[in-house]
């Protein structure tokens, strides 16, 4: 998947994960669910670890959640991230029972706390790539 001039790392979807990335391009946060037993399969993967079924369907979550923990990154481990410093990466517990580890798009001096309400937003990188990011939950959400 080309970043079209976007120099940061971009995902390379596989047949297992393509629906997840397609969902993001459509503005939806989707998780894989085992058709046989209902167990969530996140991150996307071929096999259900409960019943060993390959079958799955995709369900859309609200994208709302709370901060589980976080870090403020002050060092660029790849040169391309230098211009973005400092930036926040947060693990979030989403409604529906899955976790994400994503950029929390907020000023670095923004007060962050465990339990802080957040929601998924969609950052369009190119025609091919939309990345999920977290933002502080909007009051009307």
């Amino acid at each position: 998947m080309s970043g079209d001039g976007y120099l940061h790392p971009v995902p390379e979807p596989t047949p297992d994960s393509k629906p997840y990335w397609d969902g993001l391009r459509a503005g939806k946060f989707m998780v894989q669910r085992c058709t046989a037993c209902g167990t969530l399969r996140h991150y996307p993967r071929p096999l259900c670890n409960e019943c060993f079924s390959f079958d799955s369907e995709w369900s859309t979550l609200s994208g709302r959640g709370i901060v589980h923990s976080w870090t403020v990154c002050h060092h660029a481990f790849l040169p391309v991230f230098k211009a973005r410093l400092p930036y926040i990466v947060a693990i979030a517990d989403l409604e529906g029972g899955v976790r994400t580890n994503l950029e929390l798009s907020a000023p670095a001096e923004q007060e962050i706390w465990i339990g802080m309400p957040v929601e998924i937003a969609y950052r369009v990188i190119s025609d091919a790539v939309t990345l999920p990011v977290l933002i502080k939950a909007r009051a009307d959400a």
Partner: protein, 385 residues
Amino acid sequence: MSLKERIAVTGIGETAYVRGPGSGKTPIALQLEAALNALNDAGLSPHDIDGLIPFAIGPMVAEDFITNFGIPDLNFSALTPLGGASAVAAVQCAGAAIASGLCRHVLISLGRNGYSGTRVTSRIAQMPQFRVVGEFEVPAGAIAPAQFYAPMARLHMERFGTTSRQLGEIAVTMRRHALLNGNAVMKEPMTLEDHQNSRMISDPLRMFDCSLESDGAACVILSAAEAAKDLRKPPVYVMGTGEGHPESPSAISQRADILALGTRKAARKAFAMAGVSPADIDVAEIYDCFTYIVLRQLEELGFCAQGEGGAFVEAGHIGLGGRLPVNTHGGLLSQAHVGGMNHIVELTRQLRGEGGRAQVKDAEIGLVTGFGDMCDGSVAIMRRG
């Protein structure tokens, strides 16, 4: 069949550990140099090596040893791809191969130009163990171990009141120990204030919470217990080993308890095999990629209760003269980052009484750990022969 006391460390070898301007040698030449030092230490010839476990992340493969050593008929080769837990996991793998009769003398090896050559970010990008986070987390800007581990440290602080100064206590202690070692990259003392003033890398981890990038190699020879007695140095017997893989081993974020490490599982197996408890350990070489990872392993190994790692290190227990001297060589934080192979080398020295100015008095039983990738753990418990 138990692996208890079936093998012993019979040879250890290292190169000089350096940073700028770099070793000036290839990682293959570095590992051959360390291997020859280990063979000389054991009183073995390169042709005696009939088993090889090179470092899983390369670049040196078994073929390079066979070619350079002219090994006529190698019986066993394997990799233990557990990132920083690989070296100690290789001890267990060697034990299984030797105890089954496949081979008698296994060389385990690790070396690289981690300063002047390929740095950490490029190295891990090539590791299949990072494929999952590579797709789902790296695009968000979580790229390097510091950024994956920092949220664990943050949660530990929130949950247990652990402080950055307590992490600093670990860094300062490792530096104090490194200054006693003639082969350490860091040569200047560090104070707690130096730690607190070091720049933030990935909050709450500061620069002095992070291990070094350095050039060098270390090798260890493991031999069948019955073959170990007649070699040059007293054998150091491997009493117990274990490896442990955490839930969701490909992504920390997907683990029910993000503080959990594979170390707890590895420790349970290693202590059970050895038939000893944490109170029996005289000295510990604990994989210290980050200060926080030392603190958490102390808890998971059972040296203190969950959440009490901060108080444990603050009480001075991990320094020489303390209850549990840790990383008597200075560790990855202040000696050099040799993937923890230097930890096995140092534990062997301690249990032979070759620890020099950092020798723990009357050390009889010691423990060494590895820690890798998304929190794989490996543990080995050894005793003086």
